[in-house]
């Protein structure tokens, strides 16, 4: 794992690149799928990014999750996928610019600045009292321009609509609770779990939790017919 405390990431791509390089991986779809968990782990740990930056990080997180789910369930996705290719290319390109940036940083570091001539009004004009006003400008123009400027600059005080967030359903909690149920009862039907759910989201999260538990080989499931009852069994 990276030492997140000492690494200050400039954005989601910088973070992603660093994770991939740390694992000595090439920039490929497979690597991106591998790195998804670490990336999300980082966002969770770092906590204090400002909301706007968080949004940028989350966009990439969503893409990574998509790529990971595609790697896990390849038959559900089309062969060619622009979304995946796009992130891959974006990352490769970002890497190229990052390397160029290091070179530019080195150039600036040498402090070989070229300077322009000093400005000196006296040296430029023969007559110090030179005065060349814009002939058509009036004092009324002055106030109009200034008023217009102020009205453009004035911050729009828009009030954002408030919306209540729904209660958060945490997949980790769900996994634990399903594990507990199976531990107690050895066997349970998915319809039972659905009954207790308060929202569609909760059903989806429950289903994801089951998929995760199957992957971890904690449980196995049976389903006799299409859309039939799913039975969840404890794996011994």
């Amino acid at each position: 794992m990276l030492d997140f405390k000492t690494e200050k990431f400039q954005g989601p791509l910088a973070l992603l690149l660093q994770l991939i390089e740390k694992e000595e991986l090439d920039i490929t779809e497979v690597s991106l799928a591998k790195i998804a968990d670490q990336y999300i782990e980082y966002i969770k740990k770092v906590g204090q990014i400002d909301p706007e930056a968080t949004a940028d990080f989350l966009v990439v997180a969503a893409k990574l999750l998509y790529i990971k789910s595609k790697a896990l369930l390849p038959y559900l996705y089309p062969e060619e996928d622009e979304e995946v290719e796009e992130l891959e290319q974006q990352l490769k390109m970002y890497k190229e610019f990052l390397e160029a940036m290091k070179i530019i940083e080195g150039m600036i570091g040498k402090k070989k600045f070229a300077f322009a001539r000093e400005f000196n009004r006296k040296a430029l004009l023969n007559n110090i009292n030179f005065f060349s006003p814009p002939k058509k400008l009036t004092k009324e123009n002055m106030s109009t321009v200034f008023e217009e400027l102020i009205s453009v600059i004035r911050p729009q005080e828009e009030k954002l609509e408030e919306e209540k967030l729904e209660r958060k359903i945490n997949i980790e909690d769900k996994i634990l609770s399903i594990q507990q149920i199976v531990l107690d009862k050895i066997k349970i039907n998915f319809s039972k779990i659905m009954e207790k759910a308060e929202s569609k989201t909760e059903i989806i999260v429950s289903f994801l939790a089951i998929l995760e538990l199957i992957k971890q080989r904690n449980i196995f499931v049976d389903q006799d017919d299409l859309f039939g009852e799913i039975t969840i069994n404890k794996n011994n």
Partner: protein
Amino acid sequence: MSTKTKIESLLFISAKPIGTKEMAQLIKKDVKELQAAADELMADYNEKKGGLQIIKNGSSYQMVSAPENSSLIQDFIKDETAGELTRPSLETLTIIAYRGPIAKLELERIRGVNCSLIIRNLLIRGLIEAKPDKKKNETYYSVTFDFIRFLGINDIKDLPNYEKLSKDDTLDKVLKEDRGVNNL
């Protein structure tokens, strides 16, 4: 006097960048002829490796002191510029240098983050400039002479790997595919 020495006098007196169009009008030559003379003058200066240099940005030129004498000039004008730029600023500048003129949306697509504040800061520092394209209803950003002076090069095209990075296929492909998708 020849066109070349006239350009020399103008660049010296103006103390700021001048475009070929303005010079052509003043010297009463056509722009093409003027540009050729200016390029020749620039080559003369840069070959001579004296205390003065001519730098170029697009179709404008500026006369500046040789970067090798940087610390001497800093002592003289008591300039304390340390050349400090933060990572995000540098990253943004690098992309604008190689890919400018570039729209904000494209810049943000490459960096993967919102760049509004950094752009504003770079504009205020005079390291980049904005040019509106009214037809496309879009603003394009390029680096300025101040940035070129800062690097001690003669032309943005002298940046390492300029040919490759400014024409990167990968980039063009991503930008093209992505146009309108608006997802980053």
